[in-house]
């Protein structure tokens, strides 16, 4: 019998195949020994993982607070004490020291002992507490895990399989990619987690938040993933199989056709050179970009370094991360956007400043956060400039709304330079610095701002939100989210014109850049630089190659000035089909 489940679509595409279930920690733990001289190192590795686990629970408890739920808070207190349990921890350490086990194997061993003891208990309630201990053990194991070593041990399980997990980690996703897994399903997880970003970039069909998936599937069950709709079918009947197989073949055909355009130059039909760049959120995404088609990284988001962790990344850690990216994409620019935290990107505990804003989108976010905490900003800028020594970098400042912010940020960059000089570190002194145009004020004043900066990058997602005063995530108003609204288009046009007039480059890096319906319109408005999600590039490039930009202006202006929605869509269709 087929079972159909609905989850959240995270990465498009269709996959059909047998499944492999990751039981957290299970396939990873094997009996292994540690060399004598490395035993004390192993103990401190274990201690560190315990400490991290403890901190995670403590922070969680703090966040939950007594006022919200006394029960949950007390439950977490139990978890904390389980993690602190000296007898438990000491017997694991003893296992490492005396028997030479790895930390993982020692924990597993101790857990098995506990499981046996709890099994003998008659009281059902107490018996079930083994689940609490299991959770603690899994969290410690997770914090112990060295992602690179997991990759090697697991490869063979994933090949040609659809992976089913409780929750996806970025390493699960990478593993699936590297071992040619077919798709990913998880019972939990959200659309904007690191692993979801990664799976989209690697174009692995993925559905998350599929309730009960772990209850209904067994290893080797046949599964269909529909990553477009978020549907998962377990043990499908022939009819469903036939339907999805033909759909799969169709999309593969289309993909194959598109790869042909990738080797051509980025020019329009009338030989106008267009810059095509990609937006990246994680360094691992570098793997997937097509180097011949890409003119650079138009937007490298740096938030990933700051989120999903307890501490703040050091200058050195950032430098090493940025350097790798710059070196990998040599000769082409990487535009680093400084930390843009806040609003939909919730400020993580480690870098939180002040109280939680009542309205985060209008609160301490983007450049405001950076100017509020100079140390974080200076460290980041130092790291970027040091990475610049090994390739080509530009710095992009988010959420600029007035000249004084530009002025203050530039001064801090100069300060960072003089610190680097004093520290005698190698870094690049001359590079371009630009600003995001994502608030109406900066679009309106683009002509004035252009005198201070080297380039503009239009962020349409926020520009639409701030111009139309709607929150994209708010389900009650998001029908008002409209990038084609005349006010939005006018602001984009103003920015492009201001760039032209002052001879600075203007790129567009919001979702509009990757929207096939908007490509010709943006070309008509004078845009010559697009930065988009890597997976959108082939399709956009295909459109650009087939567009003649010489006669677009008239119809573009008609669209910008059209107040009737139906008429506007008609005009847009006409533009997309006839130019």
């Amino acid at each position: 019998m087929a079972i159909v489940l609905q989850g959240d679509p995270v990465s498009k595409g269709i996959s059909i195949g047998k499944c492999y279930i990751i039981e957290k920690g299970q396939p990873i733990i094997k009996k292994k020994f540690i060399k004598k001289e490395k035993l004390s190192k192993e103990v401190s590795r274990f201690d560190k993982a315990v400490q991290i686990t403890l901190n995670q629970f403590i922070i969680l408890k703090k966040n939950v607070g007594n006022s919200i739920s006394k029960n949950v808070s007390q439950l977490l207190e139990t978890q904390i004490q389980l993690t602190k349990d000296k007898i438990f921890l000491n017997s694991i350490i003893k296992n490492i020291k005396n028997k030479g086990f790895t930390a993982e194997w020692s924990i597993y061993n101790e857990f098995q002992n506990l499981e046996k003891s709890f099994d003998k208990i008659d009281d059902l309630y107490i018996k079930q507490r083994i689940d609490d201990i299991k959770h603690v053990v899994h969290t410690i194991l997770d914090n112990l895990s060295d992602k690179t070593s997991q990759v090697k041990t697991n490869l063979k399980y994933f090949k040609n399989r659809i992976i089913v997990a409780n929750d996806l980690t970025p390493s699960d996703v990478l593993l699936t990619h590297e071992s040619k897994g077919l798709g990913l399903i998880s019972e939990f997880g959200g659309q904007s987690s690191h692993s979801s970003i990664l799976t989209r970039s690697l174009e692995i069909p993925t559905v998350v938040n599929v309730k009960d998936i772990q209850k209904v599937v067994y290893n080797d069950d046949h599964i269909i993933i529909d990553g477009d709709k978020g549907v998962v079918i377990v043990n499908p009947d022939n009819e469903a199989l036939k339907y999805y197989k033909s759909k799969q073949i169709e999309s593969l055909k289309k993909k194959k056709q598109l790869t042909k355009v990738l080797n051509k130059k980025n020019t329009t039909k009338n030989n106008q050179r267009i810059e095509l760049m990609v937006n990246l959120e994680l360094p691992q995404e570098l793997k997937i970009i097509n180097k011949t088609s890409t003119d650079g990284i138009g937007l490298f988001r740096t938030e990933y370094l700051y989120t999903e962790r307890e501490d703040v990344p050091s200058e050195k850690e950032q430098f090493l991360a940025y350097k790798k990216i710059v070196q990998k994409i040599k000769n082409k620019p990487v535009i680093f956007r400084t930390l843009d935290i806040g609003s939909d990107k919730e400020v993580p505990e480690n870098i939180k400043k002040g109280s939680i804003a009542r309205n985060p989108a209008l609160g301490l976010r983007g450049i405001r956060h950076s100017l509020n905490d100079e140390t974080i900003f200076i460290n980041q800028v130092k790291a970027i400039m040091r990475a610049g020594y090994y390739g080509k970098i530009k710095i992009l400042l988010p959420m600029i709304t007035n000249v004084s912010e530009i002025y203050t940020a530039f001064n801090l960059i100069e300060k960072a330079k003089s610190i680097l000089k004093k520290e005698k570190k190698k870094f690049i002194k001359n590079f371009e610095t630009g600003i995001m145009i994502e608030v109406p004020s900066s679009a309106v004043l683009a002509n004035r701002f252009a005198k201070y900066v080297d380039f503009f990058s239009i962020g349409t997602n926020d520009l639409v939100q701030y111009t139309l005063a709607i929150d994209r995530i708010d389900e009650e108003v998001n029908y008002l989210y409209d990038p084609l609204n005349s006010a939005v288009l006018s602001l984009i046009k103003m920015t492009i014109d201001a760039g032209k007039k002052n001879n600075i480059s203007v790129a567009l890096c919001g979702e509009m850049a990757g929207d096939i319906n908007c490509t010709k319109l943006l070309l008509g408005m004078g845009l010559r630089s697009f930065s988009m999600h890597p997976s959108a590039l082939p399709e956009i490039k295909d459109i650009i190659l087939n567009t003649d930009t010489s006669n677009l202006e008239k119809i573009t202006n008609k669209i910008i000035n059209c107040d009737d929605l139906e008429q506007k869509n008609k005009l847009l269709n006409y533009l997309n089909n006839n130019f």
Partner: protein, 88 residues
């Protein structure tokens, strides 16, 4: 060394939260504190061991404390258990 017999009176017995409270309290004292349920014994500073005592409502437990602050420790523990862990 001091000893005391106490009776578990709360509905759920020595469940996780109650055990957590015992551990929190015991950890404040330097004395070695052991709790006995028949033949089984548990270090009062280890939540896992206390859980494994498996003491439902009505169980009689023996509490032993030895160390410089043993009398304070045993009095406070008795208070906690007799108050049904301040829950009901």
């Amino acid at each position: 060394m001091l000893e005391k017999i106490v009776k578990i009176e709360n509905k759920l017995g020595l469940h996780a939260r109650a055990a957590a409270k015992i551990v929190t309290l015991s950890s404040k004292y330097k004395s070695k504190i052991t709790i006995f349920n028949g033949k089984k014994s548990a270090d009062a500073k280890s939540i896992m061991k206390i859980l494994m005592l498996s003491a439902p409502k009505g169980t009689l437990l023996k509490v032993k404390a030895s160390g410089e602050d043993e009398s304070k420790a045993i009095i406070e523990l008795e208070k906690l258990i007799n108050s049904k862990f301040k829950e009901e």
